[in-house]
Symmetry: C2
Subunit: 211 residues, 2 copies
């Protein structure tokens, strides 16, 4: 049996709070570390100074403001944003280097960042992109949880619910939407998507059977 | 948690001989009968007379020549072919009725039939279609099996190999290509594709979160 070669996949994962994204990502990392599911997490660039224990190239690529802005001008970021005066962004060359080696990349990003990546015209990025949305429980359930937690004022709860509602409407733009039913269900859904997309003909190459 | 509603998926499966399609289909039918994986097999129409034990509507929809040709003229077949003087075809209305009820349909068909379905301009069919190719072992391996079986002359073996080579080149037109490594591997790949495609946002509808 000939084995197909393939290019890497850029899995982009977004989820409003309450959808179980952290639990999913921990479990995926555990599988990966056990050699069961090969992929790498995308490491973002930032101009924020490293915190205690953070390692350059592992937690973030730490860049100076000048360097970051030079890279912005060069169109080097697939997406970037300024938060509290610091830049955060995803470097195109980092992602492409992995994809060209056939390595899958998982990028955990908000709906705005995902929208920028989706709009990228680079055919290599477009071919690699698989965007996945975790749909959290209903707004009613989210409200119930926030009120039960009791750490926010009714006004803060209202703001969070309005944000969640806006984010939840973004699901239509993602190729896949996983309803956040149970931890097990979300994990199995995500694994099925990874396995299926690794069989997507667009990215495969059978050396002896390509016309 | 709100559950999404969705329209049905038309899974189209093609494989040259030797890829393990029959084994896969038997296992899928077993899962389905155990209530683990809901879908229906598409039942073809034919003008060939029923054989002993064949049931109309189960094995085939048996039609007269005149009726079949009237339906051809009405554009009612997603694909059809004439083999040894008899027509065989897939009725559009049968498929659409299932899809509109959210029922997934599995259609086991050769590469020529799949090409016709792929070319269908109906947006409902295009949205529903997920075509999957089982890539059999190498030609060398296929040749080895045929020679070992010893039921065909060297000339017949050569014809079969030429056909297989032509069919194998069709994989590029399918959304997914499963390399026929092991029975277990093919089954798990196919199940992952079914699970993933059931999460494809194009076919989902979250009543409370559609802009």
């Amino acid at each position: 049996m000939q084995s197909p070669r393939r290019t890497g996949i850029l899995f982009v994962l977004s989820a409003p709070s309450g959808a179980g994204k952290s639990t999913l990502c921990q479990r995926l990392a555990k599988d990966r570390d056990a050699g069961l599911n090969p992929f790498i997490y995308s490491v973002s660039c930032t101009t924020r100074p490293p915190r205690q224990g953070e390692v350059d190239g592992v937690d973030y690529h730490f860049l100076s403001h000048a360097e970051f802005e030079r890279l912005i001008e060069e169109g080097e970021f697939l997406e970037y944003a300024k938060v509290h005066g610091n830049y955060y962004g995803t470097r195109r060359s980092n992602i492409l280097a992995s994809l060209n080696q056939g390595v899958d990349v998982l990028l955990d990003i908000d709906t705005q960042g995902a929208a920028k990546i989706r709009a990228n015209p680079d055919p290599e990025i477009r071919r690699a992109l698989v965007d996945i949305f975790l749909m959290p429980p209903s707004l009613q359930e989210l409200e119930r949880r926030l009120l039960q937690r009791g750490t926010e004022t009714p006004e803060q709860v209202a703001v969070r619910l309005a944000n969640a509602e806006e984010e939840m409407a973004q699901w239509v733009h993602y190729r896949y939407t996983i309803p956040a039913t149970s931890i097990e269900g979300v994990y199995n859904d995500f694994m099925a998507i990874m396995r299926a997309e690794r069989l997507n003909s667009r990215r495969l190459h059978f050396p002896n059977h390509t016309p």
